[in-house]
């Protein structure tokens, strides 16, 4: 029971920190200062090999990156920049 209590408090503290932090800033210079190519090179290799831009057509990339935005928890700005990059070099 004690363990459960500690666990519960831990979760509440974590939630509070995250919500506070989310309230502070939704975007940051980190993503704003990076190019789509750089964001692709850094983010799209975190789970699998870097996806080759030539794999998909423009509209297919829109669908696949929307899918990956959710899987990888990317922000709107990051996924928009990555899609633009993929569409420009595929």
């Amino acid at each position: 029971m004690k363990e459960r209590l500690i666990f519960f408090i831990g979760v509440v503290v974590a939630v509070t920190i995250v919500l506070l932090a989310a309230g502070c800033s939704a975007t940051s210079n980190v993503a704003a200062n990076r190019s789509g190519a750089q964001l692709w090179g850094e983010n799209c290799v975190r789970c699998h090999n870097a996806p080759t831009p030539a794999t998909l057509s423009d509209w297919e990339w829109e669908v696949a990156v929307s899918h990956m935005r959710l899987r990888a928890n990317l922000t709107e700005l990051e996924s928009e920049k990555i899609v633009e990059f993929l569409k420009s070099v595929n």
């Binding site: 831990g10 974590a14 980190v30 870097a50 996806p51 929307s66 899918h67 928890n73 990051e78």
Partner: protein
């Protein structure tokens, strides 16, 4: 002179008419092309059919050599608008002597804000990193799951529920989060298989009471290049069926995970490190002793499992053959409760030499060495129990 002027005028007339005729021809051509393009261009609702497939050859010295797998997992992605997405994946395979179909996941996501998405349906439980990020055969660097995962593991896979997830920045610190409510695991009381008493059963399509499981995963990416991610997961909920003596039995699951993916310039290589430690605690309960209905037994129901893997791929050297090679090693262990009928302390090392034909097609030459576990099912879906085994495994994502 008049003649000449008439002649020039005549020529101009002819050339003007041919130009305009040419223009008409061009604009017809453009119209034709744009008709053709709009004929094949999707509307606002866009649909992608992707997925993956895999199979392989397994060799267990002194025991068997057999082709295994034969799995094909179609993935359907519908992007209904900028905000609405539906994803569903089927799991089809050829097992024993029959064709098997399962629903891996099927859920709808609605993007609420730039940094927050609501997800409803059958989802991967975001507990640690293996299940929702690494398990597809073209992503997993090994032919099998680490100990503790898979259909007979001790950790959650998919479940029905609601999730809020997203990624955002706190200053320059990037983080991602997930909070969810799912039906949750159910306590196996040994009714069907006495040997399984005290285990948690996952992914059951209905809940056995009103108590849901609540969970969260918070991931922190301390470096601006996103190379490192450390995640903390927790899930809590009652697991006993309503109206039974097990109603109050609760479960608490925790995990810590790590991902580090980095280009090593001095080695012209890509380094990939991943690890996850998980703890599964279930409140004590009494289970009937098999073949002696009046008697009960109990044990401290705590399990833990760990995996750590490192892989290196010389992706930036010029030799084509070498740049497609990857070497991966993984350690995993599983410790289940002392006194349980499913007690085990198993350790496994997996080594794999992979050849990447493209970014999502791979051939894996793998070796596993396992000690401790005599329960085949404890070792995960594809494992070969205690001892050594060799695998030749191929996977393709599309």
């Amino acid at each position: 002179m008049k003649r000449i002027l008439q002649y020039i005028f005549f020529i101009m007339l002819i050339s003007a008419s041919t130009v305009s005729f040419g223009q008409e021809e061009k604009s017809d051509e453009i119209k034709n092309l744009s008709d053709k393009i709009s004929y094949i261009m999707p509307g606002n609702s866009k649909f992608l059919l992707r997925g993956y497939a895999h199979s392989g050859l397994e060799y267990v010295p002194d025991s068997k050599m057999t082709f295994v797998g034969g799995a094909f997992n179609p993935l359907f992605i519908y992007r209904q608008s900028d905000r609405l997405l539906f994803e569903a994946e089927l799991e089809t395979s050829f097992e024993e002597d029959k064709f098997d179909v399962g629903l891996e996941y099927a859920n709808m996501s609605y993007i609420i804000t730039k940094t927050m998405t609501l997800r409803l349906g059958k989802i991967f439980v975001p507990f640690g990193i293996f299940v929702d990020r690494l398990h597809p055969a073209w992503i997993n660097k090994f032919p099998n799951t680490p100990l503790g995962f898979g259909h007979d593991g001790v950790l959650p896979g998919t479940d029905l529920g609601i999730e809020i997830r997203g990624g955002a920045y706190a200053g320059n610190l990037k983080y991602n989060y997930s909070f969810y409510v799912v039906n949750g695991p159910q306590l196996n009381t040994g009714e069907d298989h006495a040997d399984d008493a005290g285990k948690l059963d996952y992914g059951i399509a209905f809940d056995n009471g009103f108590n849901k499981s609540f969970g969260t995963r918070i991931g922190l990416l301390p470096f601006s290049n996103s190379s490192l991610e450390v995640g903390f997961s927790a899930m809590i909920g009652n697991v006993g069926a309503r109206g039974t003596e097990y109603e109050k039995v609760g479960s608490q699951l925790y995990a810590v995970d790590l991902t580090y993916v980095k280009t090593l310039n001095f080695m012209q290589s890509m380094l990939d490190v991943r690890a996850q430690a998980s703890w599964v605690n279930v409140d004590d309960a009494d289970y009937p002793v098999p073949d002696d209905p009046g008697q009960v037994y109990t044990f401290t129901n705590k399990s833990n499992t760990f995996f750590g893997q490192v892989s290196i791929r010389p992706a930036y050297v010029s030799a084509k053959f070498i740049k497609n090679l990857e070497f991966a090693v993984r350690y995993s262990d599983l410790n289940t409760p002392e006194g349980a009928m499913w007690e085990t302390n198993t350790e496994r090392w997996d080594y794999s030499l992979n050849y990447w034909i493209d970014w999502r097609t791979v051939i894996k030459f793998s070796y596993q060495s396992q000690s401790g576990g005599d329960h085949n099912e404890d070792a995960g879906e594809d494992a070969a129990g205690s001892g050594n085994a060799f695998f030749l495994h191929w996977a393709i994502g599309f």
